[in-house]
């Protein structure tokens, strides 16, 4: 019989590295959640505003791209709080490193600002425009943006998809963390961002047609999310010792309870059920369902962020 490792001792006790890696806390979970939510908001608002309407859309849709920018700024604030060397934050913008997802993300974030701001102007209804033009001399910009409406909404859509995928890839490319070493994270975070975006819009007063569409898109996104989580676990099941380690945290290990209760049941299963009932019985939507979806999105980031950090190669034989 081959001898097995009985005990390992180390003299290394570096803070945040030992005994288990914990370099990223709530700041990054909040940032990843808000990044996904903003991606969802940008994609959904671009899609819903694609065709010019005779009547101005509901207020929240008119302001969706600008609200997305406000939320993105909050997210970047959380990201900033996480930096250990805050004075050097400008260094993200003195280089572009094509191999680094973090570098892509930093640039995507700043590129989204002008695009979403211009889309935000286009999305405003007549009342809001008149009010804005009284306060700020934006007449020329608005006229120019109106002429490029389709291109701007297209760019917003692309920016949203890029942002949504990036938040997943950021973790997914850090292959030294075994649980993040799955290609599913990009699509999973994008889909979760879409459902969060829809849920956020559903918290506000919407036109009946938009509300109906968003509920259905939200349900679709939740189903796809559940399928992707299944695919992730299936992938782990077929990935040998590393996969076993990655699956363990969610299937019996430290993160099992929070993953299944907060992410799967609270964030996906219950909202799906409630939305199904609401559609079937033609009930008015209540704020509970979208709130659960949003909390589930935050929980997904928080759980995978924490569980993944704690899945290093040192845990393999």
């Amino acid at each position: 019989m081959l001898p097995t490792l009985l005990e390992q001792t180390t003299t290394r006790v570096n803070a945040e590295i030992d005994p288990a890696l914990h370099i990223w806390g709530w700041e990054i979970a909040v940032y990843l959640f808000l990044g996904g939510l903003v991606a969802g908001l940008l994609i959904l608002s671009a899609l819903l505003l694609w065709r010019p309407r005779e009547q101005p859309p509901s207020r929240i849709l008119q302001f969706a791209p600008l609200v997305a920018l406000a939320l993105l700024s909050l997210g970047m604030g959380a990201l900033f709080l996480d930096l250990a060397y805050k004075l050097h934050v400008f260094r993200f913008y003195t280089a572009f490193r094509p191999t680094s997802p973090m570098s892509w993300g930093a640039w995507i974030l700043v590129l989204i600002y002008p695009v979403a701001a211009l889309s935000g102007l286009v999305a405003l209804g007549p009342d809001a425009r008149a009010w804005l033009l009284k306060k700020l001399p934006l007449g020329k910009v608005l006229a120019w943006a109106e002429g490029k409406r389709q291109a701007l909404l297209g760019a917003t859509l692309a920016g949203g998809v890029g942002l949504g995928i990036y938040t997943g890839l950021l973790l997914g490319t850090l292959t030294a963390r075994i649980q993040w070493n799955t290609a599913v994270l990009g699509p999973l975070f994008l889909t979760s961002g879409l459902s969060s975006g829809a849920a956020f819009l559903l918290l506000f007063k919407l036109d009946e047609v938009d509300r109906h569409r968003l509920v259905r898109w939200d349900m679709l996104a939740l189903v796809v999310e559940a399928v992707l989580i299944g695919a992730m676990l299936l992938g782990f099941a077929n990935a040998g010792a590393a996969g076993q380690l990655a699956a363990e945290a969610l299937l019996g290990g430290a993160w099992t309870a929070s993953f299944w209760s907060l992410v799967v049941v609270m964030g996906i299963a219950v909202p799906l059920l409630l939305e199904g009932i609401e559609i079937k019985k033609h009930l008015p939507l209540v704020a509970v369902t979208p709130t659960l979806v949003l909390l589930g999105g935050l929980a997904l980031r928080a759980v995978l962020l924490a569980a993944g950090q704690d899945s290093g190669f040192r845990m393999l034989p």
Binding site: L6, Q8, D82, H88, F313
Partner: protein, 181 residues
């Protein structure tokens, strides 16, 4: 002949007694902050009592040939210099910690001043033609440092004549810290 240098460290696990002189020499040489270390001692016990086997290793950054930390760094702070040594440019580092997450060996940490820090293979000493502080102090001649691409070097000859391993070769990072077994 003009060839590229590849600095490696060779650790003879048959000689190491785990005295931690390398750890202290590193702290003294590189003035690492309290509570942090750039190199450390790992002791593995294998088997079942009473048939036990021990392996003591002096570990540090592997200065991987295919370094994921360099790829993950968004600012170019993590970079490679002559001989394949991986360094962190403190002035470029934002403390985003992507490199820490990308390192399969968990060899990096956040310095209390904010930047990310790790073993430099004592690049400042190597540039002066000296060996690293840990190698210089090792009382049992466990540690060896040199250019593996030079067939005359001590490290090349040790690797040619002795059985050796690297840690977690499955990462594909091509680590440059070798352990004689």
């Amino acid at each position: 002949m003009n060839r590229e240098k590849r600095y490696v460290m060779v650790v003879d696990t048959r000689l190491c007694v785990g005295c931690k002189a390398c750890v202290l020499a590193c702290k003294a040489e590189n003035n690492t902050p309290d509570g942090f270390c750039r190199d450390w001692i790992v002791e593995d016990i294998w088997g079942l009592f009473p048939n036990l086997r021990a392996e003591i290793r002096s570990e540090r950054c592997n200065h991987c040939s295919n370094a994921p930390c360099v790829d993950a760094c968004p600012t170019g702070a993590s970079h490679k210099v002559d001989g394949g040594i991986v360094l962190v440019d403190h002035d470029l580092c934002t403390g985003c910690k992507a490199c820490i997450a990308s390192c399969p060996y968990d060899a990096r940490y956040v310095h209390p001043d904010g930047y990310v820090d790790k073993c430099t293979f004592c690049a400042h000493r190597v540039a002066d033609g000296k060996t690293t502080a840990c190698v210089a102090i090792c009382p049992t001649k466990t540690l060896h440092f040199g250019d593996a691409n030079d067939p005359q070097s001590e490290v090349a000859q040790l690797l040619a004549s002795r059985r050796h391993k690297v840690l977690h070769p499955e990462t594909g990072c091509e680590p440059n810290l070798y352990f004689l077994t």
